[in-house]
């Protein structure tokens, strides 16, 4: 287990270095001259040249990458071109809402989609199964912002169960915090839930055919026990995988969701930074997301070994 963790952490560092190189070259790959954009419409060529120089755009790529990477390793993500404040500070301010949104979304999705998939599989071919799977197709096919506006209209404007927009920090009370995130989490989680439910169903269908399930029945185990103890643990590996991979999906969706519900999170920060070509901020956010994603994959690999004794690295 420890050896595995060590090996995976080394791999993680390498992956992160590659990601960093990619993130850094964003500046060169993206269309348009960042210096010109930053300088604005009224800028003279001299202004642009000055900005380019201050960004260091006039020096060779690898030298700048080396400097940049060295600073990153020391925890310095640079400063925003616009506000001048450190990127790490900007990210820090926006981290809370986004982490809250993500965690709650994953929690909701797993709590709803996994049992739904399990029951759909156990009732395969019946109306229960058909209902769940139609819902899943629906979840896939309706765009996030449509779901968001419909939910906000029904549950916030009409029923007034939840606030329409905005975010309440956890420090200001657990219940208001929770309330402010219910609709955004469900909105963001729709596709994710549909994905998890479908994979759970498929994985469970296969496991339920296995002979050890028949053995469990022949021992007199109750149906719920068979589904959630005997079968689900065997079906878990693909489910955990999709839960992890799906987080990449959520990162994209968070940007839209945060806009719809006016949540001051990283999604908003990213959108604003992209609009203004605030490269240090973009690079910082992308690096952070990549890091989170790589970290989650590491956790998933560790989870495999806990769930299935046959898996050893």
């Amino acid at each position: 287990m420890l050896a595995l963790a060590a090996r995976r952490i080394i791999a993680t560092v390498i992956v992160m270095a590659v990601v960093a190189l990619f993130v850094f070259s964003l500046l060169y790959l993206a269309p348009g001259d960042p210096a010109a954009v930053i300088a604005g419409d009224q800028a003279t060529p001299a202004d642009i040249a000055r900005i380019r120089q201050s960004l260091g755009l006039d020096r060779p790529f690898f030298i700048r990458f080396g400097e940049w990477f060295w600073r990153i390793l020391q925890g310095d993500l640079g400063r925003s071109i616009f506000t001048g404040s450190p990127v790490s500070e900007l990210i820090g301010q926006r981290l809370g809402p986004t982490i809250s949104l993500m965690v709650l979304t994953v929690a909701f999705a797993v709590a709803i989609a996994v049992p739904a998939g399990v029951f759909a599989a156990s009732k395969a071919g019946t109306w229960v199964d058909n209902c769940f799977m139609s819902l899943a197709v629906f979840g896939f096919s309706v765009p996030v912002f449509v779901i968001g506006y419909v939910l906000a209209y029904v549950f916030a404007l009409q029923l007034e169960w939840f606030p329409v927009q905005g975010y309440t920090a956890l420090a200001d009370g657990v219940w208001p915090w929770f309330q402010s995130l219910v609709l955004p989490s469900i909105t963001l989680g729709c596709v994710y839930m549909a994905l998890i439910a479908r994979i759970t169903r498929a994985s469970m269908l296969e496991v339920l055919q296995q002979e050890y399930i028949r053995t469990a029945r022949s021992k007199g185990a109750a149906e719920l026990d068979i589904l959630f103890v005997h079968a689900l643990k065997n079906a878990a590996v693909p489910i955990i995988t999709i839960v992890g991979i799906g987080i990449a999906l959520l990162i994209g969706g968070a940007v839209v969701t945060e806009s719809v519900f006016a949540i001051p999170g990283l999604g908003r920060l990213t959108v604003d930074a992209i609009m203004r070509r605030d490269y240090p901020v973009i690079q910082g956010v992308v690096l952070l997301f990549s890091f989170v994603y790589v970290l989650i994959n590491l956790l998933i690999d560790l989870a495999y070994t806990l769930l299935d004794p046959r898996i050893r690295y």
Binding site: Q210, E211, Y212, R214, T215, A216, R217, S218, K219, G220, A221, A222, V229, H230, K233, N234, L307, D308, P309, R310
Partner: protein
């Protein structure tokens, strides 16, 4: 009253191309402590019969009719909950494939302890302790270590021993063993059979033994039923059936078997091949189901299905041409 009385059991499966009459009107009974063997070619409905007794047939597509009386109660009338109280407790089952019959992600101890926790209300700890006892009883060395291991860490023979430990943990009154040794190699087969026999005498359970292996029948069974295409064709005590088979199908099965008394131990005394194919169970056939393959068949066989008839004391067969040798009353 017999321990188990199966009466006119019919288990049919609805399939896209018609109804599969996998078990079609089978009647038999098992006394306490008795070993009844069920033999027949592949696909003749042996496993379906066994699974029907425990009501493990998926419904749909399956559908069961008839009566399965266990200690006087018709199992087909019980609620699901009552049925769960019988499974693994009064009646337990060993399956053919020890490789796939154990749950790969649960420890051996957990799997043996499960029936004890379900049926005897033991705590996790007590159940685990009893699991260790059961493991040593079925002859697995180092039971305290093995109890925490997973199935993939055991050999095939050991896994089948674990299955036996699971099946016998609650001292069942009836043990259904569906080809318990088919997947094992010959030396292990003999060990497992010895084990089943020893434990059977220990706890006095009756056994329904399903097998392809007539050597096994000769060695461990008291009575034997020959099934063909979902029907019972012949039933007799083991020595009687081997010495005096009445049904041409049974004769065919026995064809390749060395005479009783010669050592069958370890020999793969499989059922012999009979030319022809098992009829399509989805078609309604009027005459004898075996007539297409029978060397004795005549017109009457193809028109009228013979009923089961007592041909000798305690020996029934379903054949128009089986000779009767009744002792006059």
């Amino acid at each position: 009253m017999a321990l188990l009385e199966v009466e006119d059991l019919q288990t049919h499966f609805r399939t896209p191309d018609g109804i599969n009459r996998s078990v079609d009107g089978v009647t038999f009974s098992i006394e306490s402590g008795q070993t009844l063997a069920l033999v027949g070619e592949s696909g003749c409905g042996k496993s379906v019969t066994a699974m029907s007794i425990l009501r493990l047939i998926p419904e749909p597509p399956g559908k069961m009719a008839g009566k399965i009386r266990f200690m006087g109660r018709n199992l087909l009338d019980l609620s699901d909950k009552e049925m769960r109280g019988i499974r693994g407790n009064d009646i337990s089952m060993i399956f053919q494939e020890p490789m796939n019959s154990l749950n790969p992600v649960l420890t051996i101890g957990r799997q043996i302890g499960e029936t004890l926790r379900l049926h005897q209300g033991l705590s996790q700890k007590e159940a685990e302790q009893r699991a260790v006892d059961m493991l040593s009883r079925v002859g697995i060395p180092e039971p305290t270590r093995r109890v925490g291991e997973y199935p993939h860490q055991l050999s095939g023979g050991m896994r089948q021993r674990v299955m036996i430990a699971i099946a016998l943990a609650c001292n069942p009154k009836l043990l259904i063993a569906d080809e318990p040794t088919t997947a094992l190699d010959v030396t292990i087969q003999a060990q497992i059979l010895d084990l089943v026999r020893d434990l059977k005498t220990d706890i006095g359970a009756a056994i329904l033994l399903i097998t392809h292996d007539l050597g096994v029948v000769a060695e461990v069974a008291d009575r034997v039923i020959v099934m063909y295409a979902g029907r019972k064709m012949e039933e007799a005590s083991v020595p009687e059936l081997f010495a005096n088979p009445k049904h041409p199908y049974t004769e065919g099965l026995l064809g390749a078997i060395p005479r009783l008394g010669s050592s069958l131990r370890g020999a793969t005394a499989r059922l012999s091949e009979i030319p022809g194919m098992v009829p399509n169970l989805k078609k309604q056939i009027d005459g004898c189901l075996f007539s297409e393959r029978c060397y004795k068949a005549t017109d009457i066989c193809r028109k009228i299905a013979p009923g089961l008839e007592e041909k000798a004391p305690g020996h029934v067969a379903a054949c128009h041409y089986a000779s009767k040798e009744m002792v006059p009353a």
